[in-house]
């Protein structure tokens, strides 16, 4: 979706604010928001693509004025309500009112190291061969789906070169909407800066994205 998360190429946000000796978290509530988001993710009630979509579908003005862990908190609340695990009224009242819903699993403290070490690999077996090879010229589709996509606006309808062929990965555009993993070949596509940004762009710059096969057509 063309949401506020898709920031590449926007202007006017001002200088980058670095912080010397930045702490990992700035407030105690950020620690809890981080931990409970990961812990809920480990219950298997939704997938990573659904989490990203929950965050990016915040209204743009809200997304851009919320801090990072505020966005995470709002995202996990939306997912909890959508999954029927917590009601909107419970969130408003700040306490449990209904019986808990069944849940696949609960992350225990002693299992955290193993769960983190396992991670969530996105690679999947696939029958069909890759459509493109390293060095092929491709064009990204010009598309504006209402749902989740990982093709940023600045890289739509652009011509580039296949630089890396990864393997088949879970397709987020489907997986974010409960349509299954539908794995597709994943590629790194490199574009000259001028293809993306026009003739005034720095000729020494190039930019790549990682793109699923259905984002691409031969050029």
């Amino acid at each position: 979706m063309n949401g506020a998360q898709d920031l590449g190429g926007m202007m006017g946000f001002g200088p980058i604010q670095m912080e010397q000796d930045e702490p990992w978290f700035h407030h105690e509530w950020e620690r809890r928001a981080f931990g409970l988001t990961l812990a809920m993710g480990a219950t298997g009630s939704w997938n990573l693509d659904m989490s990203r979509h929950a965050r990016e579908s915040l209204p743009p003005a809200e997304y851009l004025t919320s801090s990072y862990y505020e966005i995470w908190t709002k995202g996990v609340e939306k997912l909890l309500v959508a999954a029927g695990l917590v009601s909107a009224e419970e969130l408003t009242r700040g306490r449990a009112l209904m019986e808990p819903a069944p849940i696949k699993r609960v992350l225990k403290a002693e299992d955290v190291p193993a769960v983190l070490a396992r991670g969530g690999p996105a690679e999947r077996p696939i029958e069909q061969p890759a459509r493109f090879a390293v060095g092929d010229r491709v064009r990204t589709r010009n598309m504006h789906p209402q749902g989740h996509t990982r093709l940023p606006r600045y890289a739509r309808g652009k011509s580039g070169i296949v630089e890396l062929v990864h393997s088949a990965h879970v397709f987020p555009d489907a997986n974010a909407h409960g349509q299954g993993e539908q794995p597709q070949w994943l590629y790194t596509i490199c574009f000259p800066g001028r293809e993306l940004w026009g003739e005034q762009a720095d000729p020494t710059v190039s930019v790549s994205i990682d793109a699923w096969e259905s984002y691409l057509e031969p050029a």
Binding site: Q17, A39, A122, V207
Partner: protein
């Protein structure tokens, strides 16, 4: 009362911000319903606050500088080469190492969210997740680099990697001159977090004295 620490966790919440109250209420709902275990949250936070961080990535880079066979392995299978040092798992499942050279400088961003190689760098700094960096890293990377104090020769190409999938990129900065014979451990001290994102360069050995 703000200064009355004894009551922070109980009745007096008037000093807490809206978001603090919201997260606190959320955790208590989830714990009461049995969906999450607060002790697991503690371990998750502790892991990323204490155990994981850019020293991991620095070990990878130092080994790549010192050991040509390891560097070759990083080039062909970064995930396995990095896992061999014990750095693996969440947000590092599919790793690619990109090497800086005099001809090409690499810079990593995630314009769509905050994708970052957690096992080797830890959690990302706020600026990496922020709109100013995400918007401009792909549009005007030399200006972004200048804000970080990095000025490259005009003949050096700038290559930006937008992490739009589950592949995570680790920049291997150029090894500074006059570091021959240094141990891997000493070399690792020259490798900063920013040098592995591409917003910095490795430190010169003089800087360590």
């Amino acid at each position: 009362m703000v200064h009355d620490h004894h009551h922070h966790d109980n009745d007096d919440q008037s000093h807490l911000s809206e978001i603090e109250l919201r997260v606190r209420a959320l955790e208590s709902i989830l714990v009461e319903k049995g969906y999450v275990d607060s002790a697991a949250i503690d371990v998750l936070v502790e892991t990323y606050e204490v155990k994981v961080g850019p020293r991991n990535g620095a070990k990878v880079v130092a080994k790549a500088w010192a050991d040509p066979a390891y560097r070759d392995w990083l080039r062909t299978d970064a995930t396995a080469a990095i896992a061999s040092l014990g750095f693996l798992g969440r947000q590092g499942e599919h790793m690619v190492a990109v090497e800086n050279t005099p001809e090409q400088h690499n810079l990593v961003v995630c314009t769509l969210c905050s994708c970052y190689p957690w096992p080797v760098l830890g959690l990302p700094p706020v600026w990496y997740k922020s709109a100013p960096y995400r918007s401009r890293a792909v549009l005007d990377p030399r200006a972004v680099l200048a804000e970080f104090g990095v000025r490259l020769p005009e003949t050096t190409r700038v290559r930006v990697w937008d992490s739009t999938a589950e592949v995570r990129y680790l920049v291997i900065p150029m090894r500074p001159e006059r570091t021959e014979g240094m141990s891997e451990e000493a070399l690792a001290d020259l490798v900063t977090r920013d040098s592995m994102i591409g917003t910095g360069l490795a430190l010169q050995p003089e800087a360590m004295r």
